[in-house]
């Protein structure tokens, strides 16, 4: 019998992370550096606020775009923290994770066949999300020797008449690379020259360790061509709450709200109340988690270099992306053999784009004991191979 599944979905490649998840989850006592989420539990005051909202009987739908109080807080937060100015009434939408914000942003702007530049290595969802929205992802492979930083001339090289938008993620998943304000400005000049739209995924913005963070949305003259995407998953340790947001030009936010209204209605109400508390009183918790990530990052990067896998010091997020070239293994082989022999899960770099080959992604959102143990096992593993 022929399959009822649509051609578009049949042709969509399954995520390489999924394959690895299936492999790892069949095994017991795995030490995991394969997770893209905080190891902290959501700050207690946020959980409490959500309980309280349920007790108060706030169990109904909210406005489609989200609680106005929450949009006001998001707008205040973006202004105070990142100098990105958006009106809560019509330039902000609360979504089901940054994931949904990415989806509806792409669906709101793409016409069939429009090209979207995806800067790789990239978060695994970008290219498929572009395809699902009827667009064509054009992969732009940054150079490991440039610390995977996007260069304006590289961008100019992949732009065609069909290019409509570009997706930028700083700090980046999986490399942790952060783009400085000057680097962003240089990129924005190309973007203006070719009249492109930018989806700036700033979900790791709070988690930058060495330099002041610059939001793309705060650059001069780019506001009308920028959709800022963020959420509560990473900085506030709220992955399971499924809450994010987008801020951007009024017409695009209205278009996104239209899709959102017909598909989701609104983000979960109790999660929105939790998020409200996170923005109002969560600063200290974020700072504490951030301090701990920074210490672990230093530990992990130094140890990787000591044991013989060269590893740059990333400026943000909670991933390191060491090179495994020395071992002569592909990233798939490395990750699979490491999992089988030492029961340590890492993610092969090639799942984030072909220039991720020769690297593995390790998350340091894990306890120091776990990181220490995992690194000792990795040392043993590569000892047999280098």
């Amino acid at each position: 019998m022929t399959s009822f599944v649509s051609q578009r979905i049949q042709e969509l490649k399954p995520s390489g992370i999924r394959r690895f998840f299936d492999l790892a989850s069949q095994m017991e006592n795995v030490i995991s550096l394969g997770v893209g989420e905080p190891d902290f539990v959501t700050p207690w005051n946020v959980i409490e606020a959500s309980y309280h909202s349920l007790e108060q009987g706030y169990t109904a739908y909210t406005a489609n775009a989200g609680l106005i109080e929450l949009r006001e807080e998001v707008s205040k937060y973006l202004k105070n923290q990142y100098e990105a100015v958006y009106q809560p009434q019509n330039e902000v939408i609360i979504t089901v994770g940054a994931s949904q914000a990415i989806d509806i942003a792409l669906r709101a702007v793409l016409n069939p066949g429009d090209e979207v530049v995806v800067v790789a290595p990239s978060f695994v969802s970008y290219a498929p999300a572009v395809e699902l929205a009827g667009g064509v992802p054009v992969m732009l492979y940054t150079d490991p020797d440039d610390k995977f930083k996007l260069r304006p001339d590289q961008l100019e090289n992949v732009i065609t008449k069909k290019t409509k938008a570009i997706m930028i993620c700083s700090p980046n998943n999986p490399t942790g690379t952060v783009l400085s304000r000057d680097e962003l400005i240089a990129i924005s000049e190309v973007i203006e020259k070719y009249n492109l739209l930018v989806l700036s995924d700033e979900i790791y913005a709070e988690l930058t360790y060495d330099e002041e963070y610059s939001s793309f949305a705060s650059l001069p003259g780019v506001k009308e061509r920028t959709i800022l995407i963020s959420g509560f998953s990473k900085a506030f340790a709220m992955t399971g709450w499924r809450l994010g947001y987008a801020a951007g030009p009024q017409d695009i936010i209205a278009a996104m709200t239209k899709i959102h209204q017909y598909t989701i209605m609104c983000a979960p109400t109790m999660a929105q109340y939790g998020a409200l508390e996170a923005l109002r009183n969560g600063k200290k918790a974020v700072q504490d988690m951030k301090k701990s990530y920074k210490q672990r990052r230093n530990f992990v990067v130094k140890t990787f270099n000591e044991i013989g896998l060269s590893c740059d010091m990333p400026g943000g997020a909670f991933y390191v992306f060491p090179s495994i070239r020395e071992t002569g293994l592909s990233s798939d082989e490395f990750a699979e053999q490491l999992l089988k022999e030492e029961k340590v899960a890492v993610v092969p770099g090639n799942v984030f784009g072909e220039n991720g080959e020769g690297h593995i992604r390790c998350s340091y959102a894990a306890s120091l004991q776990q990181l220490d143990l995992a690194l000792k096992k990795i040392e043993k593993f590569i000892g047999k191979r280098i």
Binding site: S15, A24, T239, N298, A345
Partner: protein
């Protein structure tokens, strides 16, 4: 105190067992420098000791009772509460003594093997001190959290093994 020293202190406050080598990497200093920082902090008595938080209820056959005693005292001329506090904290069974604001003056935490022993301490050693006016003894029934550490915590990682 420098920022790096505060960072170091909070690291070892959470785990005094941390190896120098690890601390050094985490605070981005050499092992030499880290050792020197710790020595200096010990000398300044910012670090007073290194201890472990033990859940004694896990120890088989271990019998122990903790009590918190509220003590009202008559402060002595010239030395206020300090002298009487010293007379109390010098008893080896006393684990902590704090000067409090409010309904009583000193909070004394004491550990002993049995309730009887605590009773004896209160009646024979504490209440008989000249400046002690009254005592109220509270027994601890169960420890949930001590020194910032949650007992019997379900610390299992709830995350799936690989995620985006």
């Amino acid at each position: 105190m420098e920022k790096i020293e505060v960072e170091l202190l909070s690291l070892i406050e959470n785990n005094s067992n941390l190896e120098i080598e690890k601390i050094a990497k985490m605070i981005d200093r050499s092992e030499e420098e880290t050792r020197e920082l710790i020595r200096k902090l010990e000398e300044e008595k910012a670090i007073l000791g290194y201890s472990a938080v033990i859940d004694w209820s896990k120890v088989h056959n271990y019998e122990g009772v903790t009590a918190m005693i509220d003590v009202k005292v008559q402060p002595a001329r010239g030395v206020g509460f300090d002298k009487v506090a010293e007379r109390i904290y010098r008893f080896p069974e006393v684990k902590a003594v704090y000067l409090m604001s409010g309904a009583y003056d000193l909070s004394v935490s004491i550990e002993a093997r049995t309730m009887l022993e605590i009773g004896k301490f209160v009646s024979e050693k504490l209440s008989v001190l000249d400046s002690v006016l009254s005592t109220t003894t509270h027994f601890v029934l169960k420890k949930y959290k001590h020194d910032g550490i949650i007992f019997d915590n379900d610390n299992d990682d709830k995350r799936i093994v690989v995620s985006p």
